[in-house]
Symmetry: C2
């Protein structure tokens, strides 16, 4: 690590103060720095709002989207096996009831008989809520599969829910299909997050089957500095640029051209990106920095003095991540987590990388062109493999008395 | 969950206060409650000692054994490919240097040239130490393999380092062999723990290859109550019974009959125990409680009023976990973590359970008979599968100027 701490530079905290004042103005500052910048985004400035440790499940928006990123995440994909809309909505009602309870730090009530299985699995009793959020989205196959309108809702399919096209560098694993329903569970405690997902899987019994489950983590340095990804680079500056109501409307929330049930929702794009850490770790510091177009220690883009200084084109390598992000001129709301999954028994190498998640109002315009540009030119491709890919339509939040997906199923 | 909170009972905190006063007397209280009790052990009372957030790597004992349990653990097994003692000790010197640095929250220094790979992978810069501990142990094959005394140290093999025998219910996966060296890395931050293990793997390049890497977590309720395992039962009462210098000498630290280099060390027994959560979750509360011999909500043993009350034999089912633990009359120092590893693609079921770790002075006497008794009779076997098994000899700590394993290699 270089010893220059850049202490006279603008810090992330300074930047947040500034952006709170400057507000929407900053979000209009052009596509340059509002780029993806690969790894981890976390809003610190709203931390005070979550001091209560709880995010209510009911609300105008689903929590877990612009909610400050918690330390742990589980992401799971489900295949619906229920054949009727009635069975499906029965499951979604159970999920709603449980989600409401879990977000409040509660557990399913005792059945009153010890001859029945306990309604709650119980491993998070006494642990609180730890900022738990549960976020639900629907995949393309939820609407129609094999040409069949499964639940009579295909005419309500949202505008931009078309699968992410195959990309030239994709190494997708067949078992990681998108599935019908995605659930993102985040909390500052891993056991609490797992407890919720496990109980959702259990409540789905006979109605939906879990396809896969991933788990990820992020670590934020004291003082709320930008977290680093497993390549050791700071990442996540870009989310700050749309950190305002206006910014979220521009970037995250689905608009009025959508079917009514989707307005105020968002699209979740997911890519599981394996990082070839052993290869990266044998690469020179210069090559690493050229790949990102940033200084490793400070996080400043080439040609910029500090992490939050504007990116000037002058010195950026043409295939660097920052240069391509600048070119794409699109904003997305990033919510990525690192993962480690043991040693790959085929190669003896680490199975680790990034669970890339981003939320956006129009993935066809905001996300897919950016992904295509990156996949065709980004020097980072030498060090990564995309092994899973999925897109989900996440409805807005619900109010008490409603259930998840009700406005879609019953419109 | 039952609503009886048992608030008039002795709490874990009360118990800790009491045991601090009673000291060694309690550790002599017989084998009854000092049983394994399956899941998670955490000493709360020494938390004050770690307020600095750092456990120095140098010391009379290795840290990470009786150190209060951190939230995250990585455990990895290495196969030595170095063919000379010189190459091997060169690696162990590098590991020592790095471990000292990492335990202090530091990173490997810049090489001074950006044409070289950065010496440190850098993902934990700015994150501190988070109570990081690195604990090293040697497997049986480190001393001799295929009848060959690999490094001329086989005559110094510790007394009780004989592999755990095959047990009737074992479902061991061949890729999970014990290997030559084990490293347990624990921290209250997952990224910090991973950073250390990754850099050890990297520093081993050309000298040792990682066989496998596991990751686990525990969550301790506010107020330091006993944590719950993924079966939803409280677990970890037993460690408190030997929580004193005398207790640790009786239970944990290898004695004077061992070769000099091993005295004051400990044996690490490891079992990866898959829990069949879907089966468990369909089991009645009564069957679950009969299996453990404890009340699920309070954690009290059958026939006892509170979690920390003595176990009386009267009402315990003969094949319950508590009854068998009582019969084994042995103490071990537990340091287990829960794990979740996605969905098993062969069965569609959760791959989750317990990374059971225990430290003891004599595994042949303390651990293996207990394991054999449990495997032959314990009702818990219906809900678990043991998929990995290993035993390692962990030397005592080292002082500045020494390297890990030096007293073994150079005695």
């Amino acid at each position: 690590m270089k010893s220059d701490k850049g202490s006279s530079r603008l810090t992330r905290r300074d930047f947040l103060k500034l952006s709170a004042v400057a507000g929407a103005a900053l979000t209009l500052g052009g596509g340059g720095a509002s780029a993806i910048m690969s790894a981890l985004g976390r809003d610190q400035s709203t931390a005070a709002a979550s001091e209560s440790d709880k995010h209510p499940f009911y609300g105008a928006r689903q929590s877990g989207i612009v909610t400050p990123q918690q330390k742990y995440m589980y992401l799971a994909s489900f295949r619906v096996i229920a054949e009727s809309k009635g069975e499906l909505s029965a499951m979604l009602k159970e999920w709603t009831k449980f989600s409401t309870l879990a977000a409040d730090g509660g557990h399913r009530q005792d059945s009153g008989s010890n001859l029945l299985p306990p309604p709650d699995t119980g491993e998070s009793v006494g642990l609180g809520a730890a900022n738990l959020t549960l976020t639900f989205g629907f995949g393309e196959s939820f609407f129609a599969a094999d040409g069949k309108d499964r639940f009579g809702i295909n005419h309500r399919k949202p505008l931009y829910l078309q699968s992410i096209p195959h990309m030239p560098k994709d190494h997708l694993e067949p078992s990681f299909q998108a599935g019908d329903i995605a659930v993102q569970v985040c909390a500052d405690d891993q056991q609490i997050a797992f407890h919720s997902l496990r109980n959702l899987i259990r409540l789905a019994s006979g109605k939906a089957i879990v396809n896969w489950m991933e788990e990820g983590f992020i670590s934020v340095p004291d003082g709320g500095q930008t977290p680093r990804n497993l390549f050791g680079f700071k990442d996540g500056t870009a989310n700050l640029l749309h950190h305002s109501d206006k910014g979220y409307n521009d970037v995250v929330w689905a608009g009025q051209s959508e079917p009514l049930w989707m307005q105020g929702g968002s699209y979740l794009a997911y890519r599981k990106i394996r990082m070839l850490l052993e290869v990266w770790d044998r690469t020179s510091l210069k090559d690493q920095e050229d790949t990102f177009g940033r200084t490793k220690e400070s996080g400043a883009a080439y040609g910029a003095a500090g992490e939050f200084d504007a990116v000037t084109a002058a010195r950026l390598p043409a295939d660097s991540h920052v240069e391509l992000a600048k070119q794409s001129r699109q904003s997305i709301h990033r919510r990525a987590y690192s993962y480690t999954g043991g040693i790959d028994s085929r190669t003896g190498q680490l199975d680790a990388g990034l669970l890339f998640l981003s939320y956006q109002r129009n993935p066809q315009e905001q996300f897919i062109p950016m992904l295509r540009l990156m996949q065709s030119k980004d020097r980072l491709n030498e060090y990564t493999q995309h092994v899973a890919s999925a897109l989900y339509a996440c409805p807005p939040g619900i109010r008490e008395g409603q259930y998840i997906g009700q406005s879609l199923l019953e419109a």
